[in-house]
Amino acid sequence: MQTKQMTALVGSALAGLLMLSQANAADLKIGIMVPTTGSEATAGKDMENSIKLAADEINKAGGVLGMNIVTITGDDGCDPQMASSAASKLVSSDVVGVVGGYCSGATLPTLKIYGDAGTPFVVAAANSTKLIDANPGTSFQINSTGFDQVNTAVSLFQAKGIKTLAIVHQGDGYSEDLAKLTKEKWTGMGLEVVAYEVVNKGEQDQSSLVTKIKSKAPDAVFWTAYYSDGALLIKQLRQAGFRKLIAVGDGSNSPKLLEIAGKAAEGVFCFSNPTADYLPAAKDYTASYKANYKQAPDAYGPLAYDGMKLMADAITRAGSTDKAAIVNALKETKAFTGITGAVTFTEQNTLAKSNFVVLVAKGGKWTLNK
């Protein structure tokens, strides 16, 4: 008697589970890979928020091919090892595509993992040129690459009459790459790089390096790494009496840099991918971001948001959730215009048209340099 009741109970429970999984079949699983812990967690969370915001908007408008987008976040911790396991986890959760990628060093090893699984990966922020060579054909970079940034940087330095340059990086994939390319381009033009230095991540005291840089008397200092330690370098350079030009790469494009460095950051130049503040098309995005998360979007939010929209657009054009079809659709992207501009890919799956801008710190704010 009791056994029978149990069987019935188990039976109905199983039926319920079956129904539940049927309901799930209409979900479209998209992976988000960003650092949500560790030193770059702020930027990562901003990207995650933006991707979720885009997914919500798409779902409200009827979803993709009649399916609801469900996001799964993998934390890459801005660390190659953590990123590899996050990527494997996303692949084994059967995501149709992945959007994200902030730290180039952490993104690099995941390209192969997604490539092996055939999973399309829209790389929203990471833009080291190493990613181009490592691309198995399934990844798409919607941020301008390091090459574009180097060109923007060098033309600014020339316009300012800079002759000798000091370049400082942090030894990670992204900042070392940008530093190396700038150095090659600069020396290739017959100009001199008088100091090419490294700062350890998380080391607060950079005074000894500042003294070394000062002793070489460069016309400009170019910091190619992230804002947290960059702010300390700027502050200590100015404190030690360095009055010449300072420029920072796009990893330092954050209001936090200005907050930490305070008045020392005044007049610092920054090369930036398009951020919400300078994009007329991003008004609605900024408004709904603020409404949802009670804060303003950070530098890479718009690109992450566009990444999700692009992925949805490609799936719609592919007409199925077949990964190979989506990769093809992404390759053939023509008429997609996001808030950061129009997206068309080169043979190497990088942006055909650079979207870098030059900013300058004025009155504690980044403003467009004219």
Binding site: T37, G38, S39, N200, Q204, D205, S207, S208, G241, K256
Partner: protein, 304 residues
């Protein structure tokens, strides 16, 4: 800048960095001296100290303004608060483990370190906090060598704290009790010394020195982050080992030495600053091979 200027400026840089290392190293060495524990949570107490100082400074800057008085007040209060935190950690996490095998208490220390740093990470959302005190860039200018008043104040306060500690340990009854416990706990108990109270006092002093360094770092560098205790914890531990772990003057000497090595390591010609740590840690390994107990460490006689 002439070579002489560079040497003088790097000397100043090294001394400033070194005084931070020394302050944090003191806590390591005191705790190790008294209960033979490598307190891995020590670097995190430095970090917590910075955050507590920031909170207090934000709270009192309305009354006192962001003046030196306000900074000193917040430093003293943060030292008291973090000192108490150190005592609580010692009471809750370490005291029950004192009789357990050495490895268990070491792992407890790692756990405390994780709890502190991840706790602060959750509270601050992993964000960098700007500690903007705007102390200005004024200072003493000797031609090409420049030392700001902030830097000068840092070195002076670190020296004062170290002097007070040295006096306390060598001249007061409590300090003598500490030294006695380091030699033989059981004998101290028999002599009527309240061993647990003295251990708690050691944690209080060590933690509040770390907090002092944390507040100074916040004021000087202008930013706070939950992970800021890691690098300095590692370096201070190294400093304590160079000086001879367990020895208080050793920790001060080790800190200053490490600071100077790093400053001059940056300046070695032909190789970039990426070799700075290779240079300084290479020399340290050499030093430890030649003198395994550190500069001022004594060879311990193993009691069976």
């Amino acid at each position: 800048m002439s070579t002489q200027d560079i040497i003088l400026q790097q000397l100043a840089n090294g001394l400033i960095m070194g005084s931070f290392y020394a302050l944090v190293a003191l806590g390591y060495t005191m705790v190790y001296g008294i209960i033979k524990l490598l307190n891995f949570a020590h670097g995190d107490l430095y970090m917590v100290g910075g955050f507590v100082g920031f909170l207090i400074l934000s709270a009192i800057s309305g009354v006192l303004g962001e003046s030196w008085t306000a900074i000193v007040c917040s430093m003293v209060l943060s030292m008291l608060a973090v000192g108490l935190l150190g005592v609580i950690i010692q009471r809750v996490a370490y005291r029950p483990m004192l009789t357990a095998p050495r490895l268990s208490i070491l792992i407890t220390a790692l756990a405390v370190s994780m709890i502190l740093s991840n706790g602060v990470m959750s509270i601050t959302d992993g964000e960098y906090l700007a500690f903007n005190t705007d102390l200005g860039f004024d200072g003493l200018d000797f031609g090409n060598v420049f030392i700001s008043y902030t830097q000068l104040a840092l070195v002076i306060s670190a020296s004062v704290l170290m002097f007070v500690l040295y006096f306390f340990v060598n001249k007061t009854l409590y300090g003598k009790a500490m030294q006695a416990i380091a030699i033989d706990q059981d004998a101290c108990k028999l002599m009527g010394i309240n061993v647990n109270r003295i251990i708690a006092l050691t944690f209080f002093i060590g933690s509040s020195l770390a907090a002092a360094a944390g507040v100074m770092a916040g004021v000087y560098y202008g930013s706070l982050h939950f992970s800021m205790g890691f690098v300095i914890g590692l370096k201070a531990f190294t400093a304590a080992v160079i000086g001879g772990i367990g020895s208080i003057p050793g920790a001060m000497l080790g800190g200053l030495l490490l600071g100077l090595l790093e400053a001059f390591g940056t300046q070695i010609p032909f190789i970039g600053s990426e070799w700075k740590d290779v240079f300084s840690f290479g020399l340290l390994i050499l030093l430890l091979i030649l003198k395994p107990t550190g500069i001022l460490g004594k060879t311990e006689i193993e009691r069976m």
